[in-house]
Symmetry: C2
Subunit: 883 residues, 2 copies
């Protein structure tokens, strides 16, 4: 018989923290706290398994119903109260709790168990009629909204009417009588909207609430959140039914949220916020701005002391920073939740390295505690310290990093502008789960209300999105499309800059600069290096990038694109001369001009990477890319013809003829890569000469230079063997001229499906393989990277594609071809060095895949090198564990 | 101990006809003739194995040399003559002979064994000093040219000088003394050119000649021939050393070439040509126009009778039409060669079907006797009988079929013009092996000299190239670039038409029409149908093509491209309206106009294919293909602006905007195929409605309609599942409307590498697969079909690519992906129907591959259907034999 319901509470706990898949994060940790003797209001968890079954058929088995009933009986017994008891009713909360935390994404019902009768018992028991009816009217409204799906405004408007009528400002000014009347009218709303009475049987209330929580797994914002956070739709949520405790029972009551360390900086200091005489939802919703946790000691000292003690205990137990929720009811502390605390990138690094120093975790664990996104964030731009800033407001530094964008006031606007490629800062009074999409689309978020644990702050940190919250000086005028702050008026679409690390709001576009890597991060990355087996190289086309990447830990260059060098202002005339050449002789003449320039580049790059391998790809793009645009030329010609400048007309006509002759219908599948090298061997000859002359000269200076010459776009064995022969001939010539021997290698890109399919044959001619996953993705999918914007976003919305395959490597298709390529290549040369050098080389999932399929290295842009180092280490750890 | 040398001759023959790989075709058949008791001048064959070994190291093993010496001894004994004997020398020919016949491609040395001394013996023995010295001077020149590589003109010019000096016209007018002097001077040429004396030791002569024949395997024209005929470079040639016989010993001597049946028509009638008092080379070279074979009986009756008898015997023995060479020396007949006779397409079919009727071969053998190229030729255009022809000359009908092209006078010109896509007729005095490339490049060949077995005729038939030879009325003036005939002057690049079946030369471009299939061919194809397991469908987009293909034996439509219907003049306005539509509503309105047109097409196609499956591909190409060209529009806009026609300006601007918005950098990898169907579902909906309405209406008339709806360019499972869902929904709607149930299928193209890789997953959603090998080739290679002309010809010349992969399916790469797709697809649905519908579906090698990898059918253009039927049967036979 399956167990569907797990009880928790003193001496009666069935679950434990390792059962998160079944009990959800909240349920498992409530059980674990109960096991540890931490005071937890008793309750029970209905498993995610029940959710999955329920969502299929919208009903429960007999056994589930039976186990729920038994759990209720047990809860009643433990509390010595009964649901719906007209004298002293048991009241419970019903909350969702998925395997991973989805803050605010699903629904919660509080004060369940109140009825027309039991509300009297509560009033009597706590000797506070106003409190009882306040709970009752809240419960009816929450039930109406969450369980029955009635718009919240139906209830809110009645309260607002009442306040207006009575001339009061706050809900707290409403008296018992009014609240009781409101409860009656709320019930009428339900009757009117749904056609049935608000249920007066607590067991019916409970069953409907449980259904609602399960159903909330599939509400649109939960689905969006899961999509953004890559949470599996099939997991389902658990339901936690827990005895209610009240933080709003006067000045010895309160509720709060805390972290065992500072989630923003990582500093080892108890950190949190609380509100006296308030319920938990008030803190999270950000409606009242709460106090810092350290002041709680002076207000409810005993409970605070106990709280600090419990938090230390929990951190030591879970060996990670905890994010806890607590309620103090009339001086008595209850822990409502503990979970691994979300943290900023900086905090993640600091907590991980500190905990190693504290002996709490080992280096390997530390490496798994920092996410790739964290490093990305740390390496993201921050405000240039030399920039003159006009700071117009200060808020809470909720999520670090700086962002520049145009002001927008709605999530929709942020999303629309992002689709047009525009950068925005989303400015909101407060954010709610409905804003998720807009937050993701914006560069940063600025809110008027809310604390460090408000929705905007939590989600912002999770997304690695710079975020300033609680900036109360701002007043937004949505109608006029502007906000005012301290005498400034900022209109929609004006630029502002926010600094999520300092909490400042700055007028205009501020210059941002790249962040350095601090010592904690350096240490962590050194640990990662000790662990990982996957090499990390960089894609760099100039000495500066090469040096930067080496500083960031690159172990060589995996892709040096020589064509980027061709675009320099000083080179393009010679490049065009080469292309316009009508015969081999004049082409060679033009190439001779390019030779010293290319050589100079290689000298610089080799110097930066002394002792490390440098993979240089020979010219790849089609030649027309270096010529002016046809329409521009046509316009120029018409202009010249109008002015009658005959000399130039012929010249332009000549260029037009060449542009037309080079025009291709599908240049991506055209005359490029080694196809160019084979049809115009003199181009590759010049490049190889430049490479080898540079290598020989530096070698003569005593440097160790490791050139790897890479032939692009090979699909046929003979393309490689012929080109390789030419390359070696030229390399030998140069080495003979310079009387120096260099250990150079000649390899190829595997970037066409055909190359992967015949990799065994290609391997015979190659010293190394480098998977060019950009091109391989284009040809495997038949997607032109430049043209997919017309349908890939639609595909993602329709669920046809999970990720843009140019961002995240497609393991199912492209990855399968890579596996074929690797297997076939190694079948001929077991030690064949293989890497990846597409954009995917810096993308965490793709790096992980590269490790799994046995590549030797990834190559990525310099700023992604640290990410690759970390992810490579995490992949090693993961595959070790999987064994 | 390996046997390297095989003797042949009466009672002393080592080889047999099945040893062609080792002895070459000529050697094996000489041995077989000797075994049959046919009179063959004795000799021996040095194996192809020796050639291969020799070509590697340019030397022979001791064993080879020993066996050659032993063979010479045996030959001397059998002839009772000795090499170099000053009284009665043994003279031999040394000829090449590869596994398959390569006419005129390699070198031959005749009269070997003559020296300054033995020439006297010969003169004495035959009592004809002039004859002996004629042989000697010929031998020295041939040896000088073939063995020593001296330009033939060095010798020819001396003869010409001599003739001028003596005032005679022909070689035959030269006397013994002059010939003897020429022999002396030829030896001087050799001394001068090579620095050594002409060898006077016959054994040295023989060794050098053998070397030369082996070396000739790698001469440029042999390499070209092998490339054109797909003969393996690694086979090598054998060398045949054979006792000389002479057809030029007076009026009871002669030489000839004959076929056991008419190689042009296939008629069962002895067919051939001979020259009295001539050597074999004279017939083949076409220098004297020979007599028809039936007149030989009146000249040398005994030998003729024996020849006819032997030919019948050989045909019965080899069970195929034989091409024989013979020499009659002073009344005595010698057979010099027999081989399978090359024949025209018509002859191939007639001979094959006649031989079945005669009981000589079975149907299966008959099917293997006709080549795909033959059928292609039979289905090629011929001259429209209604056309008014201005026949300006008549020649021999050497290779049937009609051809139209611009006159060129050199092989190079034909090749150059073919590269530019121009059609030519190559007009030559006579052709030689050097002209092979030009003959292949031209549409047809016309020669002034030569007979039905001249080089031009043999090669033309082999290539299936229309050919008129021996058109002696023509006189070519190369210098002025023209030819004159019967009062007409035709300049280079003027159009002519030749009819290779009638032997006529016609002025101008004549209308050609398609050939019918005659009864012999029909019978043969029915036999093929009985044998083959591979289905044959057609690619047809309209009722006429569908009906034609069905006549030609198509078993359904494998690809009906719906977009071709969109281009009709009556449709394009509605198509453009649909594309220009700014919202779904106006797009639907435009589609509504297209619906009845599409439906009408489908009604016609379904009717033509009643009872057979019709695979209809939904819209595939990107929409911009249906809009006007941007440059044209720009020009129009400028024109309108100049004229100030404001109303139209806006309209054109609107179209330009749409064209720009639809513009893609790589449309082949862009917004097309099912990507269109998913983003504009209303287009596919209209198409499916048209298909199903047509199918239902015909079904209501009692016809059996089998629609197969095909979704193009699927790379992701959900592309197919979503589109399929939509298709089925619409199909169900239409069937409900019409109250008729149709058994329709929904399948997909496998035309992207990703589709092949995930074919197991795709198979779950597909009722059938059709491999779109055009697109699959594009993406597997990363070759744009429209752009490859810049490098694929260079690749073919450099040997990087054997075939254009868009013409002949690339088995190594694309084929491997197909195998993966088939295996994965069948792993899920073992009976999944799979076909091929690219251009490759009509190409013999690719059809054979389709059979081998287990496809269910190929689909090709109507005129290739008979070819596919034949090749499919041949593939079945071949794979049966391989088992």
């Amino acid at each position: 018989m399956s167990k569907f319901v797990y009880f928790f509470g003193k001496d009666a706990t069935d679950g434990k923290s390792s059962m998160k898949d079944l009990l959800g994060g909240k349920g498992a940790n409530l059980a674990e706290m109960a096991n540890l003797g931490v005071p937890v209001p008793p309750g029970f968890t209905i498993t995610t398994e029940v959710c999955v079954l329920y969502l299929k058929g919208k009903k429960y088995s007999e056994e589930v119903l039976k186990q729920v009933d038994e759990a209720i009986d047990k809860l009643e017994a433990l509390n010595n109260k009964k649901l719906g008891d007209p004298d002293d009713p048991l009241l419970v909360s019903v909350r969702s709790g998925a395997r991973v935390s989805m803050p605010g994404m699903m629904d919660t019902v509080l004060n369940l168990g109140l009825t027309d009768k039991s509300v009297l018992g509560l009033a009597n028991k706590v000797n506070d009629g106003r409190f009882a009816y306040d709970c009752y009217r809240r419960f009816i409204a929450m039930f109406g909204n969450v369980v029955l799906g009635i718009d919240f405004r139906n209830f809110d408007s009645l309260i607002e009417d009442e306040k207006k009528k009575l001339g009061v400002k706050s809900d707290t000014d409403l008296e018992e009588k009014t609240l009781k009347e409101l409860a009656e009218r709320f019930k009428e709303v339900i009757k009117l909207e749904k056609g049935f009475e608000f249920p007066q049987d607590p067991k019916v209330q409970l069953q409907m609430a449980i259904d609602a929580v399960f159903d909330s797994w599939n509400n649109p914002r939960a689905i969006t959140y899961r999509k953004l956070n890559e949470i599996d739709d099939s997991w389902g949520t658990a339901v936690n039914v827990q005895t209610m405790v009240y933080g709003n029972r006067g000045n010895t009551s309160g509720t709060g949220v805390a972290f065992t360390r500072n989630p923003s900086t990582g500093e080892k200091k108890f950190f949190g916020e609380y509100l006296i005489n308030a319920q938990g939802e008030d803190v999270v919703a950000g409606i009242r701005t709460p106090d810092f946790i350290d002041t709680l000691g002076s207000k409810i000292p005993e409970a605070y002391k106990q709280l600090v003690y419990i938090c230390q205990k929990l951190e030591a137990h879970f060996k990670d920073m905890q994010d806890i929720e607590f309620t103090i009811q009339e001086g008595r502390l209850y822990m409502l939740q503990t979970r691994t605390g979300k943290r900023t990138a900086a905090a993640a690094v600091k907590v991980a390295t500190d905990m190693v120093a504290e002996g709490l975790i080992d280096k390997e664990t530390a490496v798994t505690r920092v996410k790739a996104e964290h490093i990305d964030l740390l390496l993201h731009p921050r405000i240039d310290p030399k920039a003159k800033l006009e700071v117009i407001a200060k808020g809470l530094p909720a999520s670090p990093g700086a962002a520049v964008g145009k002001v927008v006031f709605t999530a929709e606007a942020a999303e629309e502008m992002a689709e047009r490629g525009e950068k925005t800062i989303l400015v909101r009074t407060e954010t709610s789960p409905e804003d998720i999409g807009g937050m993701a689309a914006a560069q940063g978020v600025l809110t008027v209300r809310g604390g460090m644990t408000s929705h905007a702050a939590v989600v912002g940190r999770g997304m690695g999105k710079p975020c300033v919250v609680g900036c109360g000086e701002i007043s937004i005028d949505m109608k006029s499309g502007l906000f005012m702050v301290n005498g400034h008026t900022i209109k929609e679409h004006e630029y502002i800059t926010i600094d999520g690390s300092a909490g400042s709001v700055i007028i205009g576009r501020v210059e941002l600069i790249d962040a350095e890597i601090n010592n904690d991060l350096k240490r962590l990355l050194v640990w990662a290096d000790e662990i990982r087996t996957l090499g990390v190289r960089t894609n760099a086309d100039n000495p500066a990038d090469a040096a930067l990447a080496r500083d960031l830990g690159a172990e060589g260059i995996g892709l040096c694109r020589t064509e980027h060098m061709f675009f320099g202002e000083d080179r393009i005339p010679a490049v065009r001369e080469m292309i316009m050449a009508e015969d081999e002789k004049s082409r060679k003449k033009a190439l001779k001009k390019l030779l010293p320039m290319q050589k100079k580049d290689f000298l610089g790059i080799f110097r930066s990477m002394e002792g490390l391998p440098v993979t240089i790809r020979l010219l790849d793009p089609p030649l027309h890319e270096f010529l002016p645009d046809k329409e521009e030329l046509d316009a120029k010609l018409r202009e010249l013809e109008a002015s009658g400048d005959c000399g130039k007309i012929d010249e332009v006509k000549k260029i037009i003829r060449r542009v037309v002759s080079l025009k291709e219908l599908n240049p991506m599948l055209g005359h490029r890569g080694c196809r160019l090298g084979i049809t115009y061997p003199e181009i590759y000859n010049m490049q190889v000469r430049a490479i080898m002359e540079a290598a020989c000269e530096l070698s003569a200076e005593g440097m160790q230079i490791v050139p790897e010459i890479m032939i692009p776009l090979v699909g046929l064995v003979k393309e490689l063997s012929l080109t390789r022969e030419e390359v070696c001939k030229m390399a030998d010539t140069v080495m003979a001229e310079k009387a120096i021997k260099i250990d150079y290698h000649v390899g190829t890109m595997i970037e066409l499906p055909r190359a992967a399919i015949i990799a065994d044959k290609i391997a015979k001619e190659a010293d190394f393989f480098s998977f060019g996953t950009n091109d391989l993705t284009q040809t495997t999918f038949g997607f032109s990277r430049d043209d997919v914007s017309k349908f890939v976003p639609i595909y993602q919305k329709a669920g046809i594609l999970e990720h843009d395959p140019f961002a995240v490597l497609d393991q199912e298709g492209v990855g399968e071809l890579m596996k074929i390529g690797i297997e076939k290549g190694r079948s001929v040369k077991p030690d064949l060095k293989m890497g990846i050098c597409g954009e995917h080389g810096g993308e965490p999932k793709s790096i992980h895949f590269a490790h799994e399929i046995g590549l030797n290295y990834v190559s990525c842009s310099p700023y992604r090198v640290p990410i690759a180092r970390l992810v490579a280490a995490q992949s090693t750890i993961e595959s070790r564990k999987a064994k």
